[in-house]
């Protein structure tokens, strides 16, 4: 059974600081997704990582994928309050047709 684990589940940080969210998954997969969810809102796609060593950056967020270690990281640089949200990683099962397995999410709170 494919499992996806994120840590930490809760993260409180100050503006200007850096931090990394980790996403581990249990079986082989080549595709990893990061989504953002604001309270009461739906999910917004942030990154799609499709191969080992993939790195993508958007603003203060950078995501990477190591398929050998079955690990993805979401790095936050110089956090700002607007980044406060819940961040989910999700993985495809090999051979599946896109039904994603999600982690429990990391609730990020950035304080001034």
């Amino acid at each position: 059974e494919l499992k996806v684990e994120q840590n930490p589940l809760f993260l409180s940080m100050q503006e200007g600081k850096n931090y990394t969210i980790y996403c581990n998954y249990s079986t082989t997969s080549d595709r990893l997704y990061w989504y953002r969810q604001d309270p009461g809102k739906s999910l917004e796609s942030l990154f799609v990582l499709l191969s080992n060593g993939a790195v993508k950056q958007e603003g203060r967020l950078m995501a990477s994928l190591d398929t050998k270690a079955r690990l993805s990281t979401l790095h936050i640089t110089a956090a700002v309050h607007d980044l406060s949200a819940t961040y989910f990683c999700a993985v495809d099962r090999i051979g599946s047709q896109g039904n994603l397995i999600f982690g429990k999410g990391t609730k990020l709170s950035v304080k001034p």
């Binding site: 989504y35 739906s42 796609s45 499709l50 047709q97 896109g98 039904n99 994603l100 999600f102």
Partner: protein
């Protein structure tokens, strides 16, 4: 353009009643997915449609849950004889083809509360 829409946005029902949730995917998207998000949890996959066919129903939790899609467009998720453990946000997503690199675009969800 218009995104994925879902209705109703909120539904409160009594235990034992049937409910029907609707999803309108992005126009032209052939793949459609239903997920469930319990409070404080990640999303659980329920069912996937390619066109009007459902090749993967593996996530439906019981035979009380069913879904259909018509016209390669609108989908409805029906829960019969609702139970309190069915309370969750039900999210629908669509993608262009359901292919390997497709991004799934999510709707705002339907919050279901079973009293």
């Amino acid at each position: 353009g218009a995104g994925v829409s879902q209705s109703p946005s909120n539904k409160v029902t009594e235990k034992g009643k049937d409910v029907e949730l609707r999803c309108d995917p992005i126009s032209g998207h052939t793949a459609l997915y239903w997920y469930r998000q319990r409070l404080g949890q990640g999303l659980e996959f329920l069912i996937y449609f390619q066109g009007n066919s459902a090749p993967d129903k593996s996530g439906l939790p019981s035979d009380r849950f069913s879904a259909e899609r018509t016209g390669e467009s609108v989908s409805t998720l029906t829960i019969q004889r609702t139970q309190q453990e069915d309370s969750a946000v039900y999210l629908c997503a669509s993608s262009i083809t359901g292919g390997y690199t497709d991004t799934q675009y999510f709707g705002p969800g339907t919050r279901l509360t079973v009293l």
